[in-house]
């Protein structure tokens, strides 16, 4: 049975007139890998800093094991943080960096030595203890940061986009590493990222945030397969988001055609947002499909082709392993499980179709990355 160890109750954070976090209610369990996921400026780092104690909520409470800790300063809270740019102490070597927290806790010299060396072994930095931190590579620095935090055996570890500065290969390896460490040490990881693939790969629970509000909480499968609104559907994975009308339970109408689906609980003829994942669409001959359209562009992606198809002016993205040529007339079929219905929200209609195909794929460029870090700093 998991135990709740941290809770944010009605937390709002506002600076002057700007609201960064809007009435957040969230709880964190023991031994869980939870990810706060969202675009830059959504408030995820702010939430993390609330927990770490670097920020006080304008209103609301932060509770550790049921006890209100709003006024407890960071150095007294029993959580540890891994900072975005690692924040390693440049004037200390690797050993002293890792030992920092232990020295403050006044552990015995031999205890410190044992724990530090053990930790260095766990993060694969054996033999590095006397190196200067400024001479290490990004990946190595990151592992020192991890060691420095974990050597204190915290119950909760806060990670602020720790993998952002690493290259792709290293990032994927570290994702596996971090997950392994979390499970081996039975610690709660509260992880912040804007990379949805990363979140899906590592988390037990994902909290999707935007504009200071929680959009959805769920397991990776839930968040991917059953997004609650257009924002979540668009942010996670690729989605075709269409307007539809719920005729009745299990039947939805799109483009004037009725489709079977598996959702219910909507009012008769209620306007809804319909989400269909590009990999869930089956391409058939035009006469055999429920809808038919023309292919306008094809891009080879290695694993599959991205095919943009125009249906009566609305452009869909379909991912398929078969090649189709531009101008080809095709038909599509969608099974009931592949159609997901969401209630209309403020995000409806905001994400359009795949007319501007290339923009959809510019998920994270280096410029976005810079902007994001600036925002997070300002939030502090």
């Amino acid at each position: 049975m998991s135990k709740e160890i941290i809770r944010l109750k009605d937390c709002t954070v506002a600076f002057d007139d700007e609201v960064i976090l809007d009435n957040i209610n969230l709880y964190f369990n023991d031994k869980e890998f939870l990810t706060l996921l969202g675009p830059s400026g959504c408030g995820k780092t702010t939430t993390l800093r609330l927990i770490g104690g670097f920020l006080k909520p304008t209103s609301g409470d932060v509770l550790f094991n049921g006890v209100r800790v709003n006024d407890v300063p960071p150095h007294k809270r029993k959580v540890n943080t891994i900072f975005q740019k690692y924040a390693l102490f440049p004037h200390l070597d690797v050993f002293e960096n890792v030992a920092f927290g232990l020295r403050i806790a006044k552990l015995s010299e031999s205890e410190i030595r044992t724990r530090v060396m053990e930790m260095l072994e766990i993060v694969s930095l054996k033999g590095f203890q006397h190196r200067k931190v400024t001479s290490l590579s990004g990946g190595q620095q990151q592992r020192v940061a991890i060691a420095r935090a974990l050597v204190n055996r915290p119950k909760v570890l806060l990670l602020d986009e720790p993998l952002g500065a690493l290259d792709l290969r290293l990032r994927k390896d570290m994702q596996i590493e971090l997950k392994r460490i979390q499970q081996a040490m039975d610690i709660t990881f509260i992880y912040v990222t804007h990379d949805q693939e990363e979140a899906l790969a590592m988390s037990d629970t994902i909290v999707v945030m935007d504009k200071g509000k929680i959009q959805q909480i769920g397991t990776p499968e839930q968040v991917y397969n059953e997004p609650k609104n257009a924002f979540v559907a668009d942010f996670i994975g690729e989605s075709n988001i269409l307007d539809g009308i719920m005729i009745e339970d299990y039947v939805v109408e799109i483009f004037g055609r009725k489709f079977r689906c598996i959702d219910k609980g909507f009012a008769p003829r209620e306007p809804v947002d319909v989400v269909i994942r590009p990999e869930d669409i089956e391409i058939v001959e035009p006469q055999k499909g429920r809808l038919s359209g023309t292919v306008t562009s094809v891009t080879f992606k290695g694993v599959h082709y991205d095919v943009i198809v125009d249906f009566k002016g609305f452009k869909w993205l379909i991912q398929t392993t078969k090649f189709h040529y531009v101008g080809e007339e095709i038909g599509i079929n969608i099974g009931p499980e592949q159609i997901h219905i969401m209630k209309k929200s403020e995000y409806s209609g905001k994400f359009g179709d795949y007319s501007s195909y290339s923009e959809e794929y510019e998920k994270i460029t280096s410029e976005d990355w810079e902007d994001e870090t600036e925002d997070e700093e300002d939030e502090a």
Binding site: G52, P74, H75, Q84
Partner: protein, 283 residues
């Protein structure tokens, strides 16, 4: 287009003529006598001025320590203020630096003189009468000026900003996430200071010490104006040899040479303490 470095050639020539050659001349003069032959006499004659050397080093040392004791805490508390306040206060600290050095020193004369402000104040408050009655003495003033204390005061007054600015500019550049990291690992404010801020501020401290000690050990105006004739320092000594009554450029050069060596030794020691990184500290 690497020929661009040739642009620096005129500069090198100028420096060679107007900086290097003069220094070579100093060395030459130090080792020659008025008649032109090689001699070590000048250095022997310096022996009689040993007390001047000691005094100069001692007063400069005192002034440096006092500047450090005042300047470091000041830099630290300043770094914690808001940016507007910081900018204003730095401007206020820099402002006296831009006022003529002589005038700044001269200003203290009116305050410290026997008939100066402090003594007048004490007198009008009846302090002297009180002391005279208790101790049976007959004083009308406290001798503040023309003492070594006044000279040190003058040095501290003139050079304090040179200690504050380097230290402040280093402290303020410390990555705030380092401080948060230390707090995250359990350090309270004092520990954060001791283990993170202090070690990282050392380059600034070394800069500050250098920028105070060097002028302090070589000044001659402060000692003239505030020390009267009682505490002659190295600077006074050198001045006298070149432009003063006892015209002896050879002796003056010898003393200058020794002063340069003292300064170079101090700076070498400082560099050893520091990490030998760039010392570019421009205001």
């Amino acid at each position: 287009m690497r020929r661009r470095y040739l642009a620096a050639v005129p500069h090198v020539i100028w420096m060679a003529v107007f900086v290097v050659v003069p220094l070579i001349l100093v060395v030459i003069y130090a080792f020659t006598s008025a008649t032109g032959g090689f001699t070590l006499e000048n250095f022997k004659n310096m022996g009689s001025y040993m007390n001047v050397f000691v005094r100069s080093l001692w007063l400069a040392f005192l002034a440096t320590i006092i500047c450090l004791l005042i300047g470091y805490p000041l830099s630290y508390v300043l770094s914690k203020e808001g940016p507007g306040m910081q900018r204003v206060f730095i401007m206020l600290i820099m402002l006296p630096m831009w006022i003529n050095f002589l005038l700044r020193t001269y200003a203290w004369m009116s305050i410290l003189e026997n008939t100066g402000l402090i003594n007048r104040l004490l007198s009008s408050l009846g302090i002297f009468n009180l002391i005279n009655r208790i101790f049976g003495t007959n004083i009308t003033y406290i001798p503040l000026i023309n003492t070594q204390g006044a000279v040190v005061l003058g040095m501290v007054y003139n050079y304090l900003p040179f200690m504050v600015l380097p230290i402040y500019s280093v402290i303020v550049k410390i990555d705030p996430s380092l401080i948060e990291a230390a707090q995250d690992l359990g350090a309270g404010s004092f520990t954060v200071f001791r283990r993170v801020i202090l070690p990282l501020s050392l380059p600034g401290v070394l800069s500050g010490i250098t920028m105070v000690f060097v002028p302090a050990v070589s000044t001659f105006i402060i000692s003239k104006l505030l020390g009267g004739g009682t505490s002659i320092l190295l600077g006074d000594l050198i001045e006298m040899q070149f432009l003063g009554n006892a015209y002896n450029p050879h002796l003056g050069s010898a003393i200058s040479l020794i002063m340069m060596i003292i300064i170079m030794i101090c700076m070498y020691v400082m560099n050893k303490f520091g990490e030998g990184e760039e010392q570019a500290v421009i205001m």
